[in-house]
Each structure stands twice: as C-alpha cells, then as structure tokens.
C-alpha cells in the first residue's frame, strides 16, 4: 500500500535521549498508563490514537480500539491519519455501519473509555466543541458535536487530553455546552449511562473526578510543575487533592515504543 510521505519528519529524533520527552510524548504516555485494565476504547485521531496504541503495547495488551467511522479492532499497518484512514480498514476485525456503531456499540454500553477533546472544559467536565462566543454569530465556529455527545453520554468514562492548560480552555463557564457531563444530564431529567469525564491529562498535570456530583480535582503534576502554577492556569477555583503526586516521567521503554513503533514518522509527535 502506498502512503503519503510523513509530514514534518524529524531526522534523528528516534535517537533522542529519553530525558527529552516532548509535550506530546508526555501527554500520550500519561494517557496510555490510564488505560491499564480497560478493554474497549473509543479513540479519535492524534494523541488518543497514540495513547491507545502505546497502551496496547504496554499496560493493556487486549485493548480493542473502536473508531467513530465504524472500525472495531483496528490493526493498521501504518499510523492512521484520520479516523477513516484506509489503513484502519484493511486487516480490521470488524467494520460496522454507523447506525450499529452509534446505536448498539455506544448506546448499548460497550465502550469502557472514550477519548474526547474540546476547546473548553469546566469544573464538572462539561465540554464545548461548538463555538467561541454566541452560537448565532460566533467569534469562532468550531466543528461542533460530531459523535462527542454520544461518547460522553454512553462510554463508561471519559478521558480528556488538553495540550495547553490555560484559563481560557479551563473555564468557569462554557460559551456553549456541546457534550454535557452527567450532572447537567440529570438536571435535564435524564440519567446517562456513564460517569462523564474521569481524567483530564494536560501539559501541567492530571485532574480527576469519580462521577456525578464531583468536580475535577488536581491529583498529580508533572515534574517541576507547582500546584500554584496549575491553579493560576485554571479559570475556576481549582480543587486540589490532599496529596498531589508527581507524575513519573516517560520511561526509556515507553518513549522507544512511541517513537519507533507507534509513530516512527512523527505524524503526531510534534
């Protein structure tokens, strides 16, 4: 199969020492560790795919990766560039129509962890991927719901990966709630299947919450990051765990797998 040349290839990057992990590598490694013991993960392209692929090689060898396009149990020969990349289909365990994927796989409760991204997140783990500003005449029109709302409502738990922890993205009030967590759903009279966001991995640390009625709490920071730094980067008064752990940096083995096996062309390891 012919593949497009990998963009932005970094010659010699694979030989870089383990100590020099990039921000993307850090996020992918931390997210991959969180997948230990999970069986099915609903992943988007980019960091979630890197994290799931790395987990498959490390902490969750039996992990089944499900894509929104309908692919279940993908075994791609190359790193996919989209959730519908042809390399995901060739050799996959199953390719389902969308009605089955959304109706039976997601709504039927078959997904352990769903990865979601967002432009904004609030303290309850509600997500905005629709607009910055007013919906009618937004400052920035973002892509919208896609299947994120369905993943949020139906996956057992949600992991969010945010490249930049800033007060604008970690906001007290969303400009628009695209994908509501269980607290908002319950207030609307409907009990969702899942717990909503349980982990948020950022460039500063890790936030966690157990489920409905709980807000996100800072539980760990990356080496060299202080709790005050995270507080300042968060747009609400951040709850902090009694003991904040320091995240173990990526090991040489994790980085080698990520760089040599998962994303050798450095498509996503920016």
């Amino acid at each position: 199969m012919t593949t497009a040349p990998p963009p932005a290839a970094a010659p010699g990057a694979a030989d870089a020492p383990a100590a020099g992990a990039t921000s993307s590598e850090l996020l992918a490694v931390v997210a991959s560790r969180a997948l230990a013991g999970r069986r099915t993960v609903f992943a988007g392209i980019g960091l979630p795919t890197l994290a799931a692929s790395l987990a498959h090689l490390t902490v969750a060898p039996g992990l089944e990766i499900v894509y929104e396009s309908g692919v279940c149990g993908a075994h791609p020969a190359q790193l996919p560039e989209t959730i519908a990349d042809a390399v995901l289909i060739t050799g996959a365990e199953a390719v389902l129509p969308m009605a089955t994927l959304f109706g039976a796989v997601l709504q039927g409760g078959h997904i352990d962890v769903g990865f979601l991204g967002a432009a904004q997140i609030d303290r309850w783990g509600n997500l905005n991927s629709s607009v910055i500003g007013e919906w009618e005449r937004p400052q920035v029109r973002l892509p919208g719901a896609g299947g994120a709302m369905e993943v949020m409502a139906n996956a057992r738990e949600i992991f969010v990966v945010m490249r930049r922890h800033t007060p604008r993205s970690f906001t007290a009030e969303l400009d628009f709630c695209t994908s509501p967590g269980p607290d908002r759903a319950l207030a609307d009279g409907i009990r969702p299947l899942g717990s909503g966001v349980t982990r948020v991995v950022t460039d500063l640390g890790l936030l966690e919450r157990a489920g409905a009625g709980e807000e996100l709490r800072l539980t760990a920071v990356h080496p060299g990051v202080t709790v005050d730094q995270v507080r300042e980067a968060t747009g609400w008064e951040l709850a902090v765990a009694d003991e904040v752990a320091v995240i173990e940096p990526p090991s040489a083995a994790e980085l080698r797998l990520l760089r040599e096996d998962v994303d050798p062309g450095r498509v996503y390891l920016r």
Partner: protein, 339 residues
C-alpha cells in the same frame, strides 16, 4: 423483474438484457438506469431542493457536488453529517441557503474558510444552520427511511444544542423506565431529502450498489430520500453483483440513477481503488481561508472543467504517484447451491 408473470420461469428468475428480449417484454424489463453526471444533476436537483450528500469520510460524493456547482443550483438545503470540503465548495459556489449537519470542519486537518465566513460574519450572506450530533443525524436518516414520525436516542440531555435547535424535543416514554418510573428521552424528526447522492465502488446498470470498507450511513440516506443517485467507480455486470449479494448495501429498487464517475470521491478515498488525498485536505484550510483564492480554485477546478473526467485528468500524475493503492483481497465465502 416485476410483472413478468407470463415469461418462462427460467427467464423470470434470470436477469436478461433488455435487447435479448422480444419487443413485447422489453417494456417490462428492468431499466438501465445509467446517466451522465450532467444529466443526473439536471434531472434530480432543482433550485430550492433539499439535497443530501452522504459518505462518512470514505466515498464522499465530491463529483456530484462539483456538478451541482457547475449547474449553478441555488437556495439548496444541504444535508450531510460531516460538512467538509465539498460543502465548503458548494457554499462558495453560492448553491446553499441552509445546512443540516453534525460536524462542520475540515476533518482533523483544519478549518472550512467559506463556512466560517458565512456563519461568523454573514460574509457574503448568512447561512441557516440546523445543528445535530452524529447519532442524531443517523437517527434522522433512519426515521426518514422508515417513514417514522421521530426516533428516540440517548443524547442531548443537558446539552445547549436543543436550545438552538427546536427540532430536538424531549418526550416521556410511554413505557416505564428501568426503575419503574416515567422515563424522559430526546427525539429527532425524520429527514426526507428530495434527492440523495452517494458514491460507491461499484453497481450494475439496474442500481444494485456494492460498498466495502466504511459503509457509513449510505443505505439509510438513500432510503430516506425521494430520489437517489448512486455514483460509482465501476459499472459491473449483474453476475458480479449476484456472486456476492451480501456486499450490496443499496438494492436497485431504491436507486433512480447510476452515474459512472471514476475518482469521483477525490479528495476522499475509495477503499481498494485510491487513497485519501491527505495533502489536499491540509491545503484546503489555506485555500479556503482566502475568499479570492477559493474562488480562483473553483474557477480552475470546477467551472474550468467540463466534467469530472477533466478534473481527474488534471490529477492523473498525482493519482499515480501518491494515491495508488496495492492489493489486499478479501477471502472468499461459499454461498452454496442446492444439489
């Protein structure tokens, strides 16, 4: 094959080409539905129509969208789950008044410049936007295909979307919930487009359409529509289809026209035929960011080409050098036959 009661049994159950039949039977023979893209768009797309283009990242009916632009259709309502490059182009072509969609982005590659100008600044004119989630759109097609008044789904609870889209309604289930109490649930209305276009790998002349790889929501989108046009990489003999009937995603009875249009899904892909043009997806964010540049692109690639064959010919080297795919054959199954 309908109403051929007097034909010999063997003929009734075997496809016979119209020209092989005696004149009296020719009128009831299954029709050859092949049309050129130009004729299909001229016949099935009218100003003010609701036009659905489906294909979830795979087999996007781009060539159909381009022909709609060439024929300068106006005031269309476009229904498409992932409003992406082809929708941005139709917006720039001035064809679209209203958009019904669940994702308005250039895949994971960036933005849609024209769509953002229309929504963010009403430039050059406002765009009516009816917004759903993916499953909401899937359910709308299903309700449309099944002629149901609505379908319920476990989405939208607590979301701000129902506040901006009054078509999203919450109802009380007529049955008790798991806890014995009344259960509330959101519903979506059916969608019944005037015409649906899909792209597929192959069909026969009757319209029996086979798709492999991602099959998306194509069958539901076709059955929901009043008319359906299938655009294909290849037109194949009836025997090819009937050798593998499980691969038929849309049967002939749901299809009004078959258009032969190789490479008509570019820049998306056709599994087993050509790969996705990821470089073009990335470049679209830059092209579409500048309204002048986008119009120049349309002038060169859409208005400046007579049909999709000319568009594809301009890309011949690119297809050969970057989008060609190798072989990965399916295994075979044995359908069996009675001895």
């Amino acid at each position: 094959m309908r109403d051929v009661e007097d034909a010999p049994v063997a003929r009734r159950f075997r496809f016979v080409r119209a020209e092989e039949l005696p004149a009296v039977e020719r009128s009831v023979a299954p029709p050859d539905k092949t049309l050129s893209m130009r004729d299909a768009v001229a016949a099935f797309v009218h100003d003010g129509d609701t036009v659905c283009l489906e294909g979830f990242t795979h087999l996007i009916p781009t060539a159909a969208g381009h022909e709609i632009i060439r024929q300068r259709r106006r005031d269309l309502t476009v229904v498409r789950m992932t409003a992406d490059i082809v929708v941005d182009q139709m917006l720039a072509g001035g064809c679209v008044k209203r958009l019904v969609s669940s994702f308005v982005g250039n895949s994971s590659a960036g933005s849609l410049g024209e769509l953002r100008r229309r929504i963010e600044r009403a430039d050059p004119e406002p765009l009516e936007f009816e917004e759903y989630s993916h499953h909401g759109m899937v359910c709308r097609y299903q309700a449309g295909a099944q002629r149901l008044p609505f379908l319920p789904l476990r989405s939208y609870a607590g979301s701000d979307l129902p506040g901006v889209n009054p078509a999203l309604r919450k109802v009380t289930s007529p049955y008790p919930g798991p806890d014995g109490e009344p259960e509330q649930i959101y519903v979506v209305p059916p969608v019944n487009p005037d015409v649906t276009f899909i792209h597929a790998q192959r069909a026969d002349r009757l319209g029996n359409t086979q798709i492999w790889g991602l099959t998306g929501v194509q069958a539901e989108a076709v059955y929901a529509a009043k008319r359906a046009v299938v655009v294909v990489e290849e037109i194949v003999d009836d025997e090819v289809i009937r050798a593998d009937p499980n691969r038929t995603v849309v049967p002939a009875h749901a299809v009004d026209a078959v258009v032969h249009c190789p490479r008509g899904a570019h820049p998306s892909f056709a599994q087993g035929y050509y790969d996705r043009d990821n470089a073009f997806y990335r470049s679209w964010s830059h092209i579409s960011k500048d309204a002048e540049r986008l119009r120049a692109w349309l002038d060169e690639w859409v208005y400046g080409t007579r049909d999709h064959a000319e568009y594809a010919a301009k890309l011949a080297d690119h297809f050969r050098d970057h989008l060609a795919v190798g072989e990965a054959l399916s295994g075979q199954v044995d359908y069996g036959r009675r001895l």
